[in-house]
Structures are given as structure tokens and as C-alpha cells.
């Protein structure tokens, strides 16, 4: 299933250009200049590093895994050894149980970790709590696998840091010029206006349980809303965990009828995973107004398809401008593009004279946000 990626190159000379174009090493440089494809290659299980014998974000169980962040399509249970930030390890333990792997090893941000003759370092990605980019380095060649990332400030996690590298592996979830995420604060203001305009209705806000939920809650608090917020049971543990990490979320109550009569939810804000809104769970609320916080809400047809009445464009991924700015700031020799709209981002790189190719990794959701 893994097609050998087509290499598209345009523009100025890159250190390893000659080697790539001929499929062998330039004789005058000897064995000291490695090819990036020797350091990381896409495999069925995920991105594989042959000299270190590890995978990054493998989609099935492997002996040694390095995990960028805790979302289920990147962090799976059943690996032999897992290296990740302490927060990501905590999140995996919360989701899969403490025995999700045979052994775990916490990676501090910036700490150089040696795996065989490869050096890896974790750098903040700004996506969700604990999310990291992973830099893989050997013989002076550095590749950064950024996982999912977001350069704009987020009160619930460490800020993204650009890391200089030869090859930058970027996601492409929102890699179309139509995706420009507005300021999240203004979207929260729209939510709060709708709440005050509809005092008899319960606002059901769809949020993914890791990251988006806590960020939206924190933003609601930052906007000055201090009333209790109601959460679906699926959010409880991760909200508790964020609290334990010093991210104050204010008063959260379980959204259950046992706790309150139907009328109590009038004018309330209830957060839950969007999949719950089709469930019987939604019936307990008075005349629910369905909202959804996601970068996809930028496109009207997507919002209507989901039956969303109040779309909130709040994303934990880089938008189009941020992808471009990040690539410009990182200034890599080459860009590899994965999960999402690869072709548009590859096209943009071509126009900038940056060599780029799609990676065709299998198994990542390009829909989650």
C-alpha cells in the first residue's frame, strides 16, 4: 500500500540534491552525507528510523515507539517501549491504562536522547497538552517530525517552537488557502452572545475530548464566563488531568439528569464529544442548540452536513497562513507533507522554490479537529 513517494523538487541547490537525483551517494562526499530517506522512511506501521530502529506515531503495535501527542490516531496502545513527553505518557495511561506499553520513558523538552547512533529531541508543538515535535539527528542531518502543531498561543499547552532542520515533516490537515482560522476569542464571544440571546435553550458544544475541550473551557473562562459548565462523562478524566497540571477550568459539573432537572440546563453551556449529540444523551436538554468547535466549521457545507446551528471555527491545527509561515521560519532544505491536503501544500512549496513531496502515510485521521 505504501507507494514510493514521488519527489518533486524545484529551485536552489540542496545539500543532498545530487544524491537524491541519482539514487546514490555523491562519490566526492563519501559516506558522511546521509540521505534523509535513510534516516526516516514511511512504512505500513508508520514513520520508521532504520538506524535507531524505532517508529514515530506508529498506527499498530511495535517494539519501540516515539509518540508526538496523545490523540488516538497518533498514540496507540500495545507498544513494547514508548518514549514521549511525561504529559503524553500520562494521557496514554489515562486512556489505555497504565499497562498500555511494556515500558515507558519520559522525554523532557530539549533533552538529547540517544537511541543507538541516532539523537532525538522533543520540542513543543502547541497542539495539545504534552504535544511535541520530534527531531531526529544523525551525522549532521536533522529531520523534524512535527506531528500535529499550532503556532498560535493556546493557554492550555506550551507554545510551538520552530526547530531548524534539513527536512521538515508537516501535517496538512488545513492546507488549503480557504482555511484561515479566526481568533479563537472572537469565536467564543459568538458562543456567549448566542447563549445570552437564547436563555431558554441549552447550548451543546461539540469538542474532542483531548485538547479542544479544555482549550474551549479555558477560553470561555478567559472571556469572563464564570457559571458552572456542564460536561459529558467522556471529558471528565482529561479535564481532571488538565486541572492537575495547573490549568484551571473553573466549576465543571457532570451533564446528567440525576444532577439536575431538565429546566436547569436552560441557558447552560454543555460540552461533549460531537458523536454524543445523536445519542439519547442529547434528549435531556431543553431545545438544544447544536454547536461544534472545529477548524472544519469554516466551510458552510461541512457545518450543515453535521446539522450544526452555531459553527465555531476553533482549531488545534495550523491554518494555511500558519503552515506557510512555519515552513518559511523553519527554512528546511526539504518538506515532507503528511495527512491532509498534501497536494496544495506541495504546490505552495514548489512556488516558493522549496523541495517538497507527499509522504502518503496511512492510518492518520485527516478529519479530526
Amino acid at each position: 500500500m505504501i507507494a514510493q513517494p514521488m519527489l518533486r523538487r524545484v529551485g536552489k541547490r540542496k545539500p543532498f540534491r545530487w544524491a537524491l537525483s541519482r539514487g546514490r551517494k555523491p562519490p566526492y562526499l563519501g559516506c558522511m552525507t546521509p540521505r534523509p530517506e535513510d534516516l526516516l522512511i514511511p512504512r505500513r506501521e508508520g514513520l520508521y528510523c532504520p538506524p535507531g530502529d524505532f517508529f514515530i506515531d506508529p498506527v499498530r503495535g511495535v517494539d519501540r515507539a516515539l509518540i508526538t501527542h496523545g490523540h488516538a490516531d497518533h498514540a496507540r496502545a500495545g507498544h513494547g517501549h514508548v518514549l514521549a513527553t511525561p504529559e503524553t505518557l500520562d494521557i496514554m495511561a489515562i486512556r489505555y491504562g497504565a499497562d498500555h506499553a511494556d515500558a515507558t520513558q519520559p522525554a523532557s523538552l530539549g533533552e538529547e536522547i540517544r537511541i543507538k547512533d541516532v539523537t532525538v529531541t522533543f520540542h513543543p508543538a502547541g497542539h495539545v497538552l504534552g504535544s511535541a515535535q520530534i527531531a531526529v539527528e544523525r551525522n549532521g542531518l536533522r529531520i523534524v517530525a512535527s506531528g500535529d502543531y499550532k503556532p498560535r498561543p493556546d493557554p492550555t499547552c506550551a507554545s510551538f517552537e520552530p526547530v531548524a532542520c534539513d527536512v521538515f515533516i508537516t501535517e496538512a490537515t488545513f492546507a488549503l488557502p480557504v482555511f484561515r482560522h479566526p481568533d479563537a476569542g472572537s469565536e467564543i464571544a459568538r458562543l456567549l452572545r448566542s447563549v445570552s440571546r437564547n436563555p431558554d435553550r441549552a447550548h451543546l458544544v461539540g469538542v474532542y475530548s483531548l485538547g479542544k475541550a479544555q482549550r474551549v473551557i479555558r477560553l470561555i473562562r478567559d472571556a469572563g464566563y464564570q457559571k458552572p459548565l456542564y460536561i459529558h462523562g467522556a471529558l471528565q478524566k482529561l479535564c481532571d488531568y488538565y486541572e492537575s497540571q495547573g490549568i484551571a477550568l473553573g466549576e465543571l459539573r457532570p451533564a446528567t439528569v440525576e444532577a439536575s432537572a431538565k429546566g436547569d440546563f436552560a441557558g447552560a453551556i454543555v460540552l461533549g464529544p460531537p458523536s454524543a449529540f445523536g445519542d439519547k444523551w442529547a434528549r435531556r436538554f431543553p431545545d438544544p442548540l447544536i454547536s461544534f468547535a472545529s477548524g472544519w466549521m469554516q466551510v458552510r457545507a461541512r457545518a450543515r452536513q453535521r446539522g450544526v446551528e452555531l459553527p465555531l471555527v476553533i482549531s488545534d491545527h495550523a491554518d494555511w497562513d500558519e503552515l506557510a509561515e512555519t515552513i518559511t521560519a523553519v527554512a528546511p532544505g526539504e518538506v515532507w507533507v503528511t495527512h491532509g491536503r498534501e497536494e496544495a501544500l506541495v504546490r505552495w512549496c514548489e512556488m516558493q522554490g522549496i523541495a517538497a513531496k507527499p509522504l502518503h502515510l496511512v492510518g492518520y485521521e485527516d478529519e479530526g479537529d
Binding site: 488549503l176 488557502p177 480557504v178 482555511f179 484561515r180 479566526p182 440571546r197 451543546l204 449529540f277 445523536g278 445519542d279 439519547k280 444523551w281 442529547a282 434528549r283 436538554f285 431545545d287 438544544p288 442548540l289 447544536i290 469554516q298 466551510v299 458552510r300 457545507a301 457545518a303 450543515r304 452536513q305 453535521r306 446539522g307 450544526v308 446551528e309 452555531l310 459553527p311 497562513d321 491536503r341 497536494e343 496544495a344 504546490r347 505552495w348 512556488m351
Partner: protein, 537 residues
């Protein structure tokens, strides 16, 4: 522009009618003149500005961004105005730090004062000064692309609610008014007199009927009533004054432009109430066509020569409201009727005739006529009190409609979609199908009412227990010859349709009964529906 863009967005995403009314009224209350008036005109599609063509918009965006990237974007979004609004580059423009986003009034007034040729240049400048929601509203405005699902009726009701007046007062005035409707808003806010409708050939609010209940017949004396066929066309008002001819729908929308053949034949001074129908050409007099014939002329802003030739429109008169200078509305029905017959006798017999009165002495006799109408495009009988004056609205005890029994079929539930608002959390919108050859179900319609709350609970449980696949808010439900839920579906009519896979389209379908007892294999077949169409043609 932003307040207007906000309104458009909220109207587009709000499913509930009452919530839409509230949004419009809130907008009228909080936005000043003339902005609110132009917004009203835009939504009511009553705004006359030089349009900008999609090809011109494509040219504008091509000059600003890579065509390949635009193509990827358009492919994903699927709507030209939305794609341009979202993808319009902001960084290179001078917008940053500027505070001169154009308002709706500025846009409309500038466009009205410019030539069509200037359109693209103006739009380009505004696109640079607006944000994405503003750009979307602007592009929809200049391409005339509002498809908001807002009926003229709903807009007029919003105005009536805003000003605490009767909706027919708005309908009566509407066609004498022009954007930005300063007089109208002044009156609705209590700050001015009711505008005088100075336009020629104004709309006169129509008189409507109640559905008759079988128990009503005990209390009604047949001698006091007349009856006529209830034609299944479009209820219209044809009116002419000072050389201005107009054709209105029953809610006062001017549809003259779509029926030039009929409008040209309004060679009188007065106002008639009747049914717009389509004739089969070539006969001696009017030969009434089918509903399918009529469909060829519906929902069109303009009409081709071929449509005019093959599907000529005509007017079957029910009533006369105005004859020259005489307002006849206070006269009893039979007196108006006599005047109507002599009035129509003077008109083009290929374009105008009078609805026939049905002979009957007892309600039973009328029921026999109702059961066997001579044309399929008859949907029942109208019963009118001989002494009834013509009163706008729906006065009690004057006119009754007695519709024919609906068509019924048994169909199998195929897909269910989650409802909105109070029906959130319930699968309440159903797509149902009938059998085609080789044991395949083909969807033939959608219905979301006709059942009780208790039945909804049971259907919802059935949907959840028998889901095969989920696509967002839609579930595909198990449906085969042995396993499936059968609905008895009632509907008012059925037509051929090229838009639907099944080739048929029902009118006004609803669930009339749940057939838990019926094996799905015994549900109806597509041929049965096709025969129903043949029967109505």
C-alpha cells in the same frame, strides 16, 4: 457589512422558523436606516443592482492567487462565492490596520449609481477592505446568489411581528414600496403614518378557506353554499390599473416576469382572483394540462419561447375584487360571481375562463363529484357561502376546502436523520423506498411528520437498533425483504422527476401509519407509483 453578514450566517444555520423570525426582528430593531432596508431588500430579492458575473469573479481571484491552489480550494468548498471569500489574500492588501470596511448601504448605493462595467473594479476594492464573512455577504449580494430558504411570506411575517400589525397589511403595501423602505419602517416603529400604496395595480390580500371536517356538514345547509373544483395550480391575482398589469401569488409576490404570456392578456381594468394553470396547446378552447405540464413553468425567473409555446399559461377565474373604479369585495359572493361571468366573457378565451359551479343539492351528491373529478389536476372541491363577502385572511364559516383523499403507498424505511431543536437526539427525518426489479429498494421520498411523539420514540429505537452505517447525522437502517420497517405514506400528488434516482417525486409526503405488522417484501413497487403518475396524466 459585518452585521449583515452575521444575519445571513445565522439565518442560514438556523433551522427553526420562529428563530428565523426572531433573528430578522432583532435585526430590524437594532440596525438603523437605510442599512436594514437594504438588508431586507437583499433577503427578499427585491434589490436592483448591476450583477457581477461568476466569470468576472474568477478573473479577480486569478489575479490574486495561484490558479492551481484556487482550483484545489474550489474543489473542496464547492461554492464559488464562499471559496473566493475565504481564500481572498489578506496579507498583501492594505487592509491591516484600516478601519474603512464598507457598510451595506455604501455598497448598494455605490452600485446603484455605477454602470455594470464598473462592478468588478468596485467589488475588488471592497474585497480588500472586508473580512471573510463580509466578503461572503458581498459576493452573494453582487451575484444575486441568495438562496436562503426564506419565503416572501416569512419575511412579511417578520415585518408584521416587528411592527405589531397584521401580515396582510404588509402584503397589501409591499409592492408599492421600494428599498430602503424608510416609510415602512417609520410606520412599523410608530414614528410615521401608514404608507399609502401609490403604485398602480397593487396586491389585494386574498381570502382563504378552512379545511372542512366531516362533522361540519351536519351544521351546514347545502342551500346556503355553492361549490366548484379546487384546481391544483397556483392561486394568483391578476390585476391591471392605468396600463400596469401584474400577476401576484396569494402572498403578494409579483410573478409577472415568469408569465409574460398571461400578463400580456390582462386586457382589463380591475382585479381577479383565480388559479394559474397550463393548457395543452392546439385545441379550440382551453384544454387543461396536467400538474407536470404546469411544473415546466414553475420556479422560473424567465421563460423561453419554447416553454411559452408548449405550455401556455391561463387563468381560471374564481372571483372578482375590483371592476374599474368599483371595489366589489363587500358584495355577496353570488353577486360578484354574476359580475365575474360577464367580465371574463370580454377577455381572450384562450387565456381566461371562469371556474365552473358544481350542481348539487345534498352533501352526498357533492361527495360523489369529489370522488370522481374529471381532471387529475383537481385536488378536491371548494365550498363557498353564497352571501360571503371577500374578506382578507381566513374568516371562519365562509369558505371551506374539501380535499380529495390522499394517495397512499407502503414504503420501507431506508435512512433516518437526526432532528433539530426539540427533536435533537431523535432520529426524526425519514427517507423511505419502494421495491424495484431484482429486489432492490430505491428511495422515493422523505417525511418528517405525521407520527405522534410516542410513535417517534418507537421509530427512533428501531433506527438505533437496526443501524447499518452512520454518515454524520444520518443513519442507514437495515431494510430487506424480511427485515425492515414499513410506513404507510400519504401524499397529495406524484410527478416524474429527473432529479431523483427513482424518477418520481411526491408532493407533501407524510407518515400516515406505522405498519409494524407488514413484512417489507409486501411494500409497494416502483411500478405502482409509475402507474399513479400515468393515472394523473
Amino acid at each position: 457589512m459585518n452585521r449583515f453578514a452575521d444575519l445571513l450566517d445565522m439565518l442560514a444555520f438556523t433551522p427553526s422558523r420562529n428563530a428565523k423570525l426572531a433573528l430578522l426582528q432583532d435585526y430590524f430593531r437594532t440596525v438603523p436606516d437605510p442599512e436594514r432596508g437594504y438588508a431586507l431588500a437583499a433577503i427578499a430579492r427585491d434589490l436592483d443592482i448591476p450583477a457581477v458575473k461568476p466569470a468576472q469573479l474568477r478573473e479577480l481571484i486569478s489575479a490574486r492567487m495561484d490558479p492551481e491552489l484556487f482550483a484545489y480550494s474550489y474543489d473542496y468548498v464547492g461554492d464559488l462565492a464562499e471559496t473566493i471569500a475565504l481564500a481572498w489574500p489578506e496579507k498583501e492588501t492594505a487592509r491591516a490596520g484600516r478601519n474603512d470596511a464598507p457598510g451595506l448601504a455604501e455598497v448598494v448605493e455605490t452600485l446603484q449609481a455605477s454602470s455594470r462595467r464598473d462592478g468588478p473594479r468596485l467589488v475588488e476594492d471592497w474585497l480588500d477592505r472586508l473580512d471573510a464573512p463580509g466578503r461572503y455577504a458581498l459576493l452573494k449580494l453582487v451575484t444575486g446568489g441568495f438562496r436562503m430558504g426564506l419565503s416572501g411570506r416569512l419575511i412579511k411575517q417578520a415585518l408584521a411581528g416587528f411592527g405589531q400589525v397584521e401580515v396582510n397589511e404588509i402584503e397589501e403595501l409591499w409592492h408599492g414600496l421600494t428599498p430602503p423602505y424608510l416609510e415602512l419602517f417609520a410606520w412599523l416603529e410608530g414614528g410615521g403614518d401608514k404608507p399609502v400604496n401609490a403604485a398602480a395595480a397593487p396586491f389585494r390580500p386574498v381570502m382563504l378557506s378552512h379545511a372542512v371536517e366531516l362533522t361540519d356538514f351536519d351544521k351546514l345547509d347545502p342551500d346556503d353554499f355553492t361549490a366548484e373544483w379546487k384546481w391544483d395550480g397556483i392561486r394568483v391575482q391578476a390585476t391591471s390599473e392605468r396600463g400596469v398589469n401584474r400577476l401576484y401569488t396569494r402572498t403578494g409576490d409579483d410573478i409577472s416576469a415568469a408569465f409574460p404570456d398571461l400578463v400580456d392578456a390582462i386586457a382589463f381594468d380591475g382585479a381577479l382572483d383565480g388559479e394559474l394553470l397550463v393548457a395543452r396547446p392546439g385545441g379550440e378552447g382551453i384544454e387543461t394540462g396536467t400538474f407536470s405540464d404546469l411544473q415546466q413553468r414553475l420556479n422560473r425567473k424567465t421563460v423561453t419561447a419554447k416553454q411559452l409555446r408548449d405550455h401556455p399559461a391561463f387563468f381560471r377565474a374564481y372571483d372578482i375584487l375590483q371592476d374599474g373604479a368599483f371595489d366589489l369585495r363587500a358584495k355577496p359572493f353570488l353577486e360578484r360571481r354574476a359580475r365575474l361571468e360577464s367580465f371574463v366573457a370580454e377577455l381572450d378565451p384562450m387565456r381566461f375562463d371562469v371556474s365552473q359551479l358544481l350542481p348539487f343539492t345534498t352533501w352526498h351528491e357533492l361527495s360523489l363529484l369529489r370522488a370522481d373529478p374529471p381532471f387529475a389536476v383537481i385536488e378536491g372541491v371548494m365550498i363557498k357561502r353564497k352571501l360571503s363577502p371577500y374578506v382578507p385572511g381566513r374568516p371562519k364559516g365562509e369558505w371551506y376546502k374539501w380535499k380529495r383523499d390522499p394517495f397512499l403507498i407502503d414504503a420501507v424505511l431506508m435512512y433516518a436523520q437526526r432532528g433539530h431543536g426539540k427533536r435533537s437526539g431523535y432520529y426524526s427525518d425519514y427517507t423511505f423506498g419502494v421495491w424495484r426489479d431484482e429486489g432492490e429498494l430505491v428511495p422515493v421520498g422523505k417525511a418528517y411528520f405525521g407520527f405522534t411523539d410516542e410513535e417517534l420514540l418507537k421509530i427512533d429505537k428501531y433506527v438505533r437498533d437496526n443501524t447499518i452505517e452512520r454518515f454524520g447525522p444520518v443513519r442507514s437502517v437495515r431494510a430487506g425483504p424480511d427485515k425492515g420497517l414499513v410506513f404507510e405514506v400519504a401524499f397529495e400528488g406524484i410527478n416524474r422527476s429527473t432529479r431523483h434516482k427513482s424518477g418520481v417525486a411526491m408532493r407533501f409526503p407524510r407518515i400516515s401509519r406505522l405498519r409494524w405488522d407488514k413484512p417489507p417484501a409486501e411494500a409497494d413497487r416502483l411500478e405502482t407509483l409509475e402507474r399513479m403518475i400515468d393515472g394523473t396524466e
